[in-house]
C-alpha cells in the first residue's frame, strides 16, 4: 500500500507539526501534574501510549494518497455507519450513553472516528457532482446522506459530536460555494426544527438528553461544573499557580478535569499567559490548516483540508467556550489535549490528513 516518495518529505508542514505536538506535550504535562491526586501519573502514561498509537496512525494516513481515501469514501461511510450501529448492539452504557465499543481492555468511540469519515464523504460527494458549486438538490442529497449517521450519533446520545458536525458541514458547504441563499434557508430550517425535535423525542430520550446536558449527572449538581471551572480558570489569574498550587484541580473540586475540562486545569496552573500561548498554538494549527486548504488546487484535497481544519476549529472553540462559561455544556473533548484514546488517535489522524494534502499539493 505504501509507495512512499522521498520528495514528499520536503513538503512537510513543520509549523503545523510543531503546533500540534506542542499541544500534545502540554496535554501530557497537565495530566502529569494531576499526579498527586491519585492516578494522575497513570493517566499521563496512558495518554502517552495513546499518542504513540496516534503517531503510527498519522504516519499510515500520511503514506496513503488522500485521493485514494476520498475515492474510498463510500466504503468508509458504510463501515462508519456500521460501527455506529454496532454501538447500539454491543456498546456498553456508560453514564446513560452508549458510545463505546469494547475490544478487550480497550474501548473505542466510533463517533470520534466518524468525524473524519464525515468530512471525507462530503468531499467525495461534492467533487463527484462535477459542478462548480453544488445545487440545491445536491445539498439536500448530501444532507440526507449525512442525516443518517448524524441521527445515530444523536441517539447514542453523543450530542457533543453531533454538534461539531453541524458547523463542519456548514464550513464545507461555504467552501464549496453553495449559494448564500441556500445556506441561509438551511440555517433557518435547522433553527426552526430545533425546538420541534424536542417534542419528537420520546420521554426517556428527553431524560437522557437532560442527563447528558447535566454534566455532573447528579440531581444536585446542575450548575456545579461551570462554577467550578470558572473558579479554577479565574483563580489562575495572570501568571497561574503552578502545578503544586493548583488547589482547584488538585483537590479535585473540578469534575471531569482530565477529559473535557482539562483546559481549566491548565488555566489554573499557568494563568492567562499560559492560556495565551495555548490559544496561539491552536490558532496556528487552524491557520495552517486553512492555509493548506487555500493553497491546494485539487478540489478533493482542498475540501478535505477545509473540513478537517473545521473539525479542529469547531471542536476547540466549542470546548473552550463551554469550559470558560460562554457556551452551554456539552461533552466535547479538547482535541490533542483531553485525556482519551479515541480522541487523541483521531485528532492525530486528522493532522495526518492535513500533512498528506500539503505534501501532495504540487504534484
Amino acid at each position: 500500500m505504501l509507495r512512499f516518495d522521498r520528495r514528499l518529505l520536503q513538503n512537510v508542514d513543520w509549523p503545523l507539526v510543531a503546533a500540534a505536538f506542542f499541544i500534545v506535550g502540554l496535554s501530557v504535562l497537565s495530566l502529569w501534574s494531576l499526579a498527586p491526586v491519585r492516578g494522575g501519573g497513570a493517566l499521563a502514561w496512558r495518554q502517552l501510549s495513546w499518542v504513540g498509537v496516534g503517531v503510527v496512525a498519522l504516519l499510515v494516513v500520511v503514506s496513503v494518497d488522500y485521493r485514494n481515501l476520498v475515492r474510498a469514501a463510500p466504503a468508509l461511510y458504510a463501515v462508519g455507519v456500521a460501527l455506529l450501529l454496532t454501538v447500539f448492539v454491543l456498546g456498553r452504557t456508560v453514564s446513560g450513553a452508549r458510545r463505546w465499543i469494547h475490544l478487550g481492555p480497550f474501548s473505542f468511540q466510533p463517533s470520534e472516528l466518524f468525524k473524519l469519515i464525515f468530512v471525507l464523504t462530503l468531499a467525495w460527494a461534492i467533487t463527484s457532482w462535477r459542478a462548480p458549486a453544488p445545487s440545491r438538490g445536491a445539498v439536500l442529497g448530501m444532507l440526507a446522506l449525512m442525516g443518517v449517521p448524524f441521527l445515530l450519533v444523536v441517539r447514542q446520545p453523543d450530542l457533543g459530536t453531533a454538534l461539531v458536525l453541524v458547523p463542519v458541514a456548514a464550513a464545507i458547504f461555504v467552501g464549496a460555494g453553495v449559494r448564500m441563499r441556500v445556506l441561509g434557508t438551511l440555517a433557518l430550517a435547522g433553527l426552526s426544527a430545533l425546538p420541534l425535535s424536542w417534542f419528537v423525542l420520546k420521554p426517556y430520550q428527553r431524560d437522557r438528553l437532560l442527563v447528558y446536558l447535566d454534566p455532573f449527572r447528579d440531581p444536585l449538581g446542575t450548575a456545579y461544573n461551570v462554577i467550578q471551572a470558572k473558579i479554577a480558570i479565574g483563580s489562575g489569574q495572570l501568571l497561574g499557580k503552578g502545578p503544586s498550587g493548583a488547589t482547584q484541580s488538585r483537590l479535585a473540586f473540578l469534575p471531569e478535569r482530565h477529559t473535557d475540562f482539562i483546559f481549566a486545569v491548565f488555566a489554573e496552573m499557568w494563568g492567562f499567559i499560559g492560556c495565551l500561548v495555548l490559544i496561539v498554538a491552536y490558532s496556528l494549527l487552524v491557520l495552517r490548516g486553512f492555509e493548506i486548504a487555500a493553497s491546494t488546487r485539487d478540489p478533493r484535497g482542498r475540501l478535505l483540508a477545509l473540513g478537517v481544519t473545521a473539525v479542529f476549529a469547531a471542536q476547540t472553540l466549542i470546548n473552550l467556550g463551554m469550559v470558560t462559561g460562554l457556551l452551554p455544556i456539552v461533552g466535547i473533548p479538547l482535541p490533542l489535549m483531553s485525556y482519551g484514546g479515541s480522541s487523541m488517535v483521531v485528532s492525530l489522524m486528522g493532522l495526518g490528513l492535513l500533512l498528506s494534502i500539503r505534501m501532495r499539493q504540487f504534484h
Binding site: V37, R38, G39, T127, R130, P132, A171, V174, G175, G177, D218, P219, L220, G221, Y224, Q228, K230, I231, A232, I233, G234, S235, G236, Q237, L238, T247, Q248, L251, A252, F253, A267, G271, F272, C275, L276, I279, Y282, S283, V286, L287, F290, A293, A294, R297, D298, P299, R302, L306, A310, A313, L317, L320, G321, T324, G325, L326
Partner: protein
C-alpha cells in the same frame, strides 16, 4: 468544464471563502482570549478568593423508611435517628493517617475502613458510609478531634427500631445495606438500606422512599457556610398489615424454647393475624454493621433461624390429614358416620403390620370417635375404602401441596403425590400400603403450616379457600393509596353442609370430649381442632422418636373467628406439645371472655 484545474477567478473565489472561514475561527479565538482576560485578570482576584474557601459537600439526606403497622394501627417497626460514620474520599488528603486515627479512636479494624473506600473513586465528594449505629460516646470522640480528621463526618440517618430484637422477624424481614450483587441490578446506590427478606423485601419499592440531598458549602473547619441547594427526601409509604401485634406477641412467647411455627388466620377473610417461626433471628443486628462472623453464624446455624418455617418448611401432616380422609369419604359416600370398627392396636395387610399409636388399641370406634381419639387402625381401613384417588383429590381441593400465594416471598409448595395411571396395568409405583400410610398423613405427603391454616379455615368457614393476606394497604406519605388488596378466594371446597357440620362437631370433640386435643381446652371458649404427629424424615436412630407435633384448630367452634395452627419440630406428640401452645394463643385472643368465665366461676 474542468473541475480538476480551476480557473484563476474560481481559485480566487475559493481563497476568499476560506479566508472568510478563517476570519470566523480567529474571531472565536479572540473572543475566547477576551473571556479569559475577563476571568483571569479582571475577576481573577475574586475567583482566587472563592477558590480559597471552596469546599463543597454533598450530603445525602436519607428518606425515612416507611413504617409497618398492625391491623389496628400499632406500629410493628419504627425509625429513630442513628449516627453513621462516613468518609469523604476527596477531603482526605492524607488518607492513611486519617484512617489510622479513626481506627484507633473507634476500634474499627483499619482493613475495614480501607475496604470501604476501595469501592469508590478516590475523588468522590459523596460521603461513603462506613459504619452505622455509632454510640453517642463514639460520636463525641470524633467531634472532639474533628480538626485532625478531615473528611470524616458523622451523618444522622433514620434507622429501623423494633419492639424487640426478634419480634415478627420472619414476617417483617430484615433491612440491610445493599450487597455487591444487588448493586449490579443498577437500581440502588451504594450504602442504600434495602429490605432483604419478608415484607420489607416484598414492599421495598414502596417502603424505601427517595433520598434527598443537599449541596452545602463548608469552610476550612467543615462548618456549613451556606446550603447551596437542597432536595427534600421523599419518605417511604406506610404499610398497614393484617397482623395483630398482640396475638403475634403471644404466639411468639408461647413458642419460646421450641422450634417450629404458629400461624393465626381469620377464617372469615384469610387475613393472617400472626405468623411466627422459631427460632427467630435478631432483626436489629442487621440494621447496624453486621459482623461477618455473626452473619455466617446465622446462615450456618443448623436450626436455620433465617428460614420462615410457616411457609418454607415442609412437614408430613400426620393425623391432621385424617380430616381430609374423613371429608373425602363422607362426601363420596364411601364412609358414613355410622361406620364402626374394632381397634386392637394393630392392622395387618399383606404380611405387613401397621400399628396404632396407642398400644392395645381404642376398642370399638366409629368415624367420629376415631377422629376424636385419632385412631389409626380405623383410618387404615377407612383409607382403603375411600381410595387414594379420592383422598389425594380432596387434599388438593383443600389447597395442600400447592403454593398459597401469600404476600411473602420464598414459599415452598409442599407435596401431594400424583397417582400413576391405573392402566394399561396396575402400576408398581403405588401400592395398598401407600394408601394405608397416607390415610394417617404419613408417607409421601408434605405440607406447610400456612397450608394447614388455610385448610383449617376452609373447615371453619364451610369451604372457602382463601389466598392468605398479609398486607391490607400501602399509603404514601401524602395519604394517597399506593396499593390495597381485599380478601381473595383461591378456591372452594365443595362438601355438603352435613359433612361440614360433622367435621366441626368431631373436631370440637377432639378438644372438649377427652380427645387427643384436650390440652387446648379453655373454659368459656369452644375450641375445635385436630392433633397430629408427623414422623420426621430423619433416618438416624438418634433422631427417632423426635416427631413433629401438630395442632390445627379454630374457635369458637360454633362461630369460628380465628384459626390457630401450631407446629413444633421434634416436639413429640401433637396433643402434648402443640395443643398447649394453641391454648395460650386462644387465651390471649379471647382474654375478656376467658376472664368473664373465671369470674363467674368464682362467684
Amino acid at each position: 468544464m474542468d473541475v480538476m484545474s480551476p480557473r484563476p477567478d474560481r481559485r480566487d473565489a475559493w481563497r476568499r471563502r476560506v479566508l472568510a472561514l478563517t476570519a470566523v475561527a480567529m474571531t472565536g479565538f479572540v473572543g475566547l482570549l477576551g473571556q479569559l482576560w475577563y476571568l483571569q485578570a479582571l475577576e481573577g482576584g475574586r475567583l482566587q478568593e472563592m477558590s480559597e474557601r471552596n469546599r463543597i459537600r454533598v450530603r445525602p439526606v436519607a428518606a425515612p423508611r416507611g413504617i409497618l403497622f398492625d391491623r389496628s394501627g400499632l406500629p410493628l417497626v419504627d425509625n429513630r435517628p442513628a449516627f453513621t460514620l462516613s468518609l469523604i474520599p476527596r477531603e482526605m488528603e492524607d488518607r492513611d493517617t486519617v484512617l489510622a486515627r479513626v481506627s484507633v479512636l473507634l476500634k474499627i479494624p483499619l482493613s475495614e475502613l480501607q475496604e470501604a473506600l476501595e469501592r469508590v473513586p478516590p475523588d468522590s465528594i459523596r460521603p461513603q458510609r462506613v459504619r452505622r449505629g455509632l454510640s453517642l460516646e463514639e460520636v463525641t470522640k470524633l467531634e472532639e478531634r474533628k480538626l485532625e480528621l478531615p473528611g470524616v463526618i458523622v451523618e444522622v440517618e433514620p434507622q429501623r427500631v423494633y419492639p424487640t430484637s426478634t419480634f415478627a422477624a420472619h414476617v417483617l424481614g430484615y433491612v440491610r445495606e445493599v450487597s455487591d450483587d444487588q448493586m449490579k441490578q443498577g437500581r440502588y446506590r451504594r450504602g442504600d438500606m434495602i429490605g432483604q427478606s419478608g415484607l420489607e423485601r416484598v414492599l421495598d419499592e414502596y417502603l424505601r422512599g427517595r433520598d434527598g440531598g443537599e449541596r452545602i458549602e463548608v469552610d476550612a473547619l467543615g462548618r456549613p457556610v451556606q446550603v447551596m441547594r437542597r432536595e427534600e427526601p421523599n419518605p417511604g409509604a406506610q404499610v398497614i398489615t393484617t397482623v395483630d401485634r398482640r396475638i403475634q406477641e403471644v404466639a411468639e412467647r408461647a413458642m419460646a424454647g421450641h422450634a417450629g411455627a404458629v400461624v393465626v388466620m381469620d377464617p372469615r377473610s384469610g387475613d393472617v393475624l400472626a405468623m411466627t417461626s422459631s427460632p427467630a433471628f435478631p432483626l436489629d443486628r442487621f440494621a447496624g454493621t453486621l459482623e461477618r462472623d455473626e452473619w455466617l453464624r446465622l446462615v450456618r446455624d443448623p436450626m436455620t433461624p433465617l428460614m420462615n418455617r410457616a411457609l418454607q418448611s415442609q412437614y408430613a401432616p400426620g393425623s391432621i390429614f385424617k380430616v381430609v380422609v374423613a371429608a373425602a369419604g363422607l362426601q363420596d359416600g364411601s364412609l358414613t358416620p355410622m361406620d364402626r370398627a374394632y381397634c386392637n392396636g394393630q392392622f395387618h395387610m399383606g404380611g405387613w403390620t401397621f400399628k396404632d399409636w396407642k398400644a392395645g388399641g381404642h376398642g370399638h370406634v366409629d368415624l367420629r370417635s376415631a377422629l376424636v381419639q385419632s385412631c389409626n387402625v380405623f383410618f387404615y381401613q377407612a383409607g382403603l375404602k375411600v381410595g387414594p384417588e379420592a383422598i389425594l383429590r380432596y387434599a388438593r381441593a383443600f389447597g395442600l401441596g400447592a403454593l398459597t400465594g401469600a404476600d411473602l416471598g420464598g414459599e415452598r409448595p409442599g407435596l401431594i403425590p400424583v397417582l400413576p395411571p391405573a392402566r394399561p396395568r396396575p402400576a408398581r409405583g403405588w401400592q395398598a400400603g401407600d394408601t394405608v400410610n397416607i390415610s394417617i398423613g404419613q408417607g409421601r405427603l408434605l405440607v406447610t403450616p400456612l397450608q394447614v391454616a388455610r385448610m383449617m379455615s376452609a373447615v371453619a368457614n364451610g369451604g372457602v379457600l382463601w389466598k392468605p393476606r398479609l398486607v391490607q394497604r400501602v399509603e404514601r406519605a401524602d395519604g394517597s393509596l399506593a396499593y390495597s388488596s381485599s380478601s381473595k378466594m383461591a378456591g372452594q371446597v365443595d362438601l355438603s353442609p352435613a359433612v361440614w357440620a360433622f367435621l366441626r362437631h368431631a373436631l370440637t370433640g377432639v378438644v372438649n370430649e377427652g380427645g387427643t386435643g384436650a390440652a387446648a381446652r379453655i373454659p368459656g371458649i369452644l375450641v375445635a381442632g385436630k392433633t397430629g404427629t408427623a414422623q420426621s424424615i430423619a433416618k438416624s436412630d438418634a433422631s427417632k422418636g423426635q416427631d413433629h407435633a401438630w395442632f390445627a384448630s379454630f374457635a369458637p367452634a360454633d362461630d369460628p373467628q380465628v384459626v390457630v395452627v401450631v407446629l413444633v419440630e421434634r416436639g413429640g406428640k401433637g396433643g402434648q406439645v402443640a395443643a398447649p401452645i394453641a391454648r395460650q394463643v386462644y387465651q390471649a385472643i379471647f382474654l375478656e371472655r376467658v376472664a368473664m368465665v373465671v369470674l363467674d366461676g368464682d362467684s
